[in-house]
Each structure stands twice: as structure tokens, then as C-alpha cells.
């Protein structure tokens, strides 16, 4: 594949279809500017600022943009909240829709057939593969991203974190916690 891609890139540059410097800037963006750290900041803010959390659950796109995160694959954001009684899980069964501005690009497993197929029919079994057993009494809500709406899970704030500030809390938030394949 490396050779075929190199040939395609050479051709597209030669024809003026792409600017090589733009390609470098794009790779830099996806490797360094977006990623789960952005989403973690959103979550930590929601944990520490009740008014922000209210705005986030009412209009996630605007509330996330307050922190500077916006753009393609984040045009219409919805945040779903985990509680002791409810657990949320996000999937895209038809392709690989994922909220790039807050989580970056999706991991391989998120884009692959095993997760995309099973998350809707056996969400508890899928989550168990990540090491989390959900009790039967917890309601599981699966969100299949079939349109341009992108979902972010607001995990529960872990117990014993009352004294932590926003930065310390953000460090506790994992990507899988914001997809719903883990509980924090």
C-alpha cells in the first residue's frame, strides 16, 4: 500500500489536485491538534461548572465551541449523560462517524466490523470486551450515528475526586469513557 499511496500522491501533486504543504498541515492537525484531550476538557468543565453542563446538554455544539473545538465531523454535536442508572454507547454501524473535533480520528476497532456489527445487538457483550461488566439493572442506550449528528458520552465523575481541579479531572477522562466502551 505504501507504494500505491506514494504513486497516487505524486500524481495528484503533479496535476495540481493537491498542495503538498496542505497535506503536511492536515496530517499535523489530525496527529497533534485534535484528539481525546479536547473531549476530556469538555467533560472536566461539565463536571466542575453546573451552568456549563446545562448548556452542554442543551446545545452541545455551541457549548463545545465555547472551548474552541469545532469543525468537520462536529457540526451537530449531542452530549449524552451517564448516570448510576443509565449507560450510553456510541457507534456508527454504516461507516465510521465519529466526533473529530473533540475525539480526533477514531481507533481501528471503532471502524471495524466486529464493533460496528455487535454494538447494537449486544452492547453489553461489546463493552465486556473492554473489561467492563454492566449490571442488568443499568439501562444501556446505544446511539447509532446514522446522520451528521455526532455523539459524545459525558461519563460520571469518579468518586473521591472532589478536591481535584479541572486539569486534574481532565487527565482522568479516557477516550473509551467518551465513546461508552468504558465507565470511569
Amino acid at each position: 500500500m505504501a507504494l500505491r499511496v506514494k504513486a497516487l500522491e505524486s500524481l495528484m501533486v503533479e496535476k495540481g489536485l493537491v498542495d503538498p504543504a496542505a497535506l503536511d498541515a492536515l496530517v499535523d492537525h489530525f496527529e497533534h491538534k485534535v484528539g481525546p484531550r479536547n473531549g476530556a476538557r469538555v467533560v472536566a468543565r461539565a463536571w466542575t461548572d453546573p451552568a456549563y453542563k446545562t448548556r452542554l446538554l442543551e446545545n452541545a455544539t455551541d457549548a463545545i465551541a465555547e472551548l474552541g473545538y469545532q469543525g468537520g465531523q462536529g457540526e451537530h454535536m449531542v452530549v449524552v449523560e451517564n448516570t448510576p442508572a443509565v449507560h450510553n454507547l456510541v457507534v456508527c454501524t454504516l461507516c465510521s462517524c465519529y466526533p473529530w473535533p473533540v475525539l480526533g480520528l477514531p481507533p481501528v476497532w471503532y471502524k471495524s466490523a466486529p464493533y460496528r456489527s455487535r454494538a447494537v445487538i449486544d452492547p453489553r457483550g461489546a463493552i465486556a470486551e473492554f473489561g467492563t461488566e454492566l449490571p442488568d439493572e443499568v439501562e444501556v442506550r446505544v446511539w447509532d450515528s446514522t446522520a451528521e449528528v455526532r455523539y459524545l458520552v459525558l461519563p460520571q465523575r469518579p468518586a473521591g475526586t472532589e478536591g481535584l481541579d479541572e486539569d486534574a479531572l481532565a487527565a482522568l477522562v479516557t477516550r473509551d469513557g467518551m465513546i461508552g466502551t468504558a465507565r470511569l
Binding site: A2, V5, K6, A7, L8, E9, S10, L11, M12, E14, K15, G16, L17, V18, D19, A21, A22, L23, A25, L26, V27, H29, F30, E31, K33, T61, Q70, G71, G72, E75, H76, V78, V91, T93, L94, L105, P107, V108, W109, S112, A113, P114, Y115, S117, A119, V120, I121, E129, F130, D136, E137, V138, V140, R141, V142, W143, D144, T146, A147, V149
Partner: protein, 216 residues
């Protein structure tokens, strides 16, 4: 199109295999494919791009990695719109007498472009259904692109959100007509989709356009 990309509800596809400390790209070529797709003049219609990848024959689709599918879809669109021939793509060199294009995305505007707040909401007729209303998904099996998965057809659910009119992929993937239609989030009880073995508390919600829905 009832293709293999419509994976929801299938089993025995193998373990999910989460990877610890996964890199954004595993190999350099993957990052170049991603950038080429985003920068290419063929990146003008997200629904068409998705449908192009769905058109990869089923056995190949399942065997390909994500970035191989992106590479294949990009090559197919470049050929479809006359930007390149198969021979040029294989050779990595333009045929004599080619026409030089101007890149649609240049380095100086990449940052601005990636942070641009786009929207798929359009002006259209008001929604026919209300939040809280029960709806049934229609039994649609179009040969073209659709975002109504097979597992959710012919089932009754409840509208939990109304998003205004969004670009309608079933039309938009096959041209530039955005054909905006009201979009809803519809919640289905897991037992209605999968039968009595599902947990009675669980649900699956999908974002569905009005033409997929009817009154039960």
C-alpha cells in the same frame, strides 16, 4: 443498497480487539491517504464519498482496512470525475498533455477550513412528526445510498429529538441535489429490534430522515 457495509446486528465478525495506546496512524501511508482524501477536489459531497466506499464489492470491503477503503474510494472518485485515469494512478505519473488544476485546499487555509463551523441544516418544510410521537420505519430497500440500516427497518420507535431539515443522503449521494428533509432521533427498544433475549431496559437510537418514517 443492502451491502456488507450495513453491519449492525451481525455477529461472528471476530473479537473487537482494543489496542493500548493506539497511534493516530499506524503507518505513514495511512496519514497520507487521510490527507489526500480531505484535500482532494473530490471531497465535495460527503454522502457521495460514503457511497463510493460502499460500492467496493462486499468480500473486498470486509477484507480491507479503513485506510485501504479510503484509498480505493478516492481513486474511484478521481476516475469518475475525470481527474485521473487508472493507468495514471498505477504509474504515479500524469499522461502527456494533462491539464494542470489549482488545489482547492492550500496550506495557508487548512487551519481555518478544519475549524470552520459548517452545517447540514437547510430551510425546508416543517417536520411532520413531533417529539414523543411513535413512528414506524418503512421497509425500504433502495439500490442506491441510504442511511436507514436493515436492522432498523419495519420497527416502531419513539421520536426523542427533532433536528430541523438536514441534507438528505439518499438523494445527495447521487448528485448535488441536497433535497433537505426533517431529521429526527428515533429510539427503539432493544426488545422490539432483537426479540425477548434483549435486556428490557435497553434501547438503540438512530438519526432518521422523515422519508424513512410513517405513522404506525
Amino acid at each position: 443498497m443492502n451491502g456488507v457495509h450495513d453491519l449492525g446486528g451481525m455477529e461472528n465478525m471476530g473479537p473487537i480487539a482494543p489496542e493500548t495506546d493506539e497511534p493516530v496512524f499506524h503507518e505513514r501511508w495511512e496519514s497520507r491517504v487521510h490527507a489526500l482524501v480531505v484535500a482532494s477536489p473530490t471531497r465535495r459531497n460527503i454522502d457521495e464519498g460514503r457511497h463510493q466506499r460502499e460500492l467496493i464489492p462486499g468480500p473486498k470491503y470486509l477484507a480491507m482496512s479503513y485506510h485501504e477503503k479510503w484509498f480505493t474510494g478516492l481513486c474511484d472518485l478521481l476516475v469518475k470525475y475525470g481527474y485521473a485515469t487508472r493507468d495514471e494512478i498505477a504509474a504515479g505519473r500524469a499522461a502527456p498533455g494533462f491539464k494542470t488544476e489549482t488545489p482547492v485546499l492550500t496550506a495557508d487555509v487548512v487551519g481555518e477550513r478544519l475549524r470552520r463551523r459548517g452545517s447540514y441544516v437547510r430551510d425546508a418544510a416543517p417536520p411532520k412528526f413531533a417529539v414523543g410521537e411513535r413512528v414506524r420505519t418503512r421497509n425500504l430497500n433502495p439500490h442506491g445510498h441510504t442511511r436507514l440500516p436493515r436492522y432498523a427497518r419495519g420497527h416502531v420507535g419513539v421520536i426523542v429529538a427533532s433536528h430541523g431539515a438536514h441534507v438528505f443522503p439518499d438523494t445527495h449521494a447521487h448528485g448535488d441535489d441536497e433535497d433537505p428533509q426533517p431529521l429526527y432521533t428515533v429510539r427503539f427498544m432493544a426488545r422490539d429490534l432483537w426479540g425477548e433475549t434483549a435486556n428490557p431496559k435497553d434501547s438503540v437510537s438512530l438519526d432518521l430522515w422523515e422519508p424513512y418514517l410513517e405513522r404506525p
